[in-house]
């Protein structure tokens, strides 16, 4: 294998690491903010289930990323490198500002930007991008509805229970299971995106056939990288997710994580690369809205939505410039 291919695989794994680092907050914000687990134990818990996801899910999302964003013939080592650089830089910029944006959409925007810089807008696959675009809107709304419905169901089932302390203890334990389920969904949907990029790179550099499935070493490397990233997770976003959008109790944590996990399991099985960030943010808003709409801090939620809207254009622009620079230097 050429040095350039190995280098780009390392950058792809670095993106996966940053993804875990950036999105660690999604998995652990609710368990940390409700004080069910200490931050240190919470990241260990999430990292383990991020890694374990490869045992449970297939590679349908990886195939979508590898085949449905830009045409295969435009993919080269330079395009994939520039796409990854754009996604990583966008993730780091939004991390700095504490905004829970989507690493997945940064990756899609980055790949599209680098490919367009190389060969123009004709290389974009409209069908694949439309599917991703539709679920940018749908995934937070599905998460919100699921979070709200689960919260209302829990309230309805337990409304006669007067022992609040015992109930809270039960939900604190339940949060361990719901956080594990969400981390599993996160590992499945997000690690697969890096698997897709590495598969595309192997195909572009003739190390794999165009119809090849993802090699086991790629699956293991991607899940290890995202697990390690989660292990060193970022605290700025934990704060935004865990307390700034709405205040969460253990029961709300269970509802938010369960709602988001169900959404991620379904979309991973269908091969749809949704944003784990958008899904859990929607679910947290849903939990807040179950009490009353004013329980949600809409100013913070609005800031988050703007960051979502800007993610694909932002990563697109950075990757576009990076590709031009790489092309100039080479």
């Amino acid at each position: 294998m050429e040095l350039s291919v190995i280098l780009v695989i390392a950058v792809a794994l670095a993106f996966d690491y940053v993804n875990g680092f950036h999105d660690a907050a999604n998995s652990i914000a609710t368990v940390v903010s409700t004080r069910v687990l200490s931050p240190r134990i919470a990241v260990l818990w999430a990292a383990f289930f991020n890694f374990a996801a490869f045992l449970v899910f297939g590679d349908a999302v990886a195939a979508t990323i590898a085949n449905d964003v830009v045409t295969q013939d435009v993919l080269s080592i330079g395009v994939i490198f520039a796409g990854l650089v754009g996604a990583i830089l966008w993730d780091l910029i939004t991390f700095w500002f504490g905004l829970p944006t989507s690493s997945s959409h940064a990756l899609v925007g980055g790949m599209a930007g680098a490919a367009v810089a190389k060969a123009g807008f004709g290389v974009l696959i409209t069908e694949g991008l439309r599917k991703i675009g539709i679920f940018i809107v749908l995934s937070p709304l599905i998460g919100l509805a699921m979070g709200l419905i689960i919260t209302l169901t829990i309230f309805w089932v337990f409304h006669r229970n007067r022992n609040v302390e015992r109930l809270n203890r039960g939900f604190r334990t339940g949060q361990l299971a719901s956080a594990a389920a969400f981390s599993l969904g996160h590992g499945a949907n997000d690690a697969q995106k890096t698997m897709g990029i590495i598969l595309a790179l192997l195909i572009a550099s003739d190390h794999a056939a165009p119809d090849a499935s993802t090699p086991l070493w790629v699956v293991l490397a991607a899940h290890t990288a995202i697990g390690l990233g989660t292990l060193t997770g970022g605290w700025r976003i934990v704060k935004t997710m865990g307390s700034k959008i709405t205040r969460l109790q253990p029961v709300g944590g269970v509802a938010a994580e369960s709602g988001a996990a169900i959404t991620l399991f379904a979309t991973s099985a269908a091969g749809i690369p949704v944003s784990t960030t958008h899904t859990i943010t929607g679910a947290i808003v849903g939990v807040g809205a179950a009490r009353r709409l004013s329980a949600v801090r809409w100013g913070v939620a609005g800031r988050v939505v703007w960051a979502w809207v800007l993610t694909i254009p932002g990563a697109f622009g950075i990757s576009w410039l990076t590709f031009l620079l790489v092309d100039l230097l080479s």
Binding site: K131, L138, L141, I149, I272, A289, S294
Partner: protein, 53 residues
Amino acid sequence: MDNRAVFFFGAAVACMLLVPVSDGYAWVSATVAAVYVLLGLGSWLDARSHRRL
């Protein structure tokens, strides 16, 4: 009408607008829209019963 119901009906309209462009996933958009219509109705009835109390 209470703000929460308006928000849910707005979400339903957004999902309905996605149906024609959703191709193979039109049923997902339509189902989510239907769920938000139900949530909107539930929220509106809830607010109305609270006002009467």
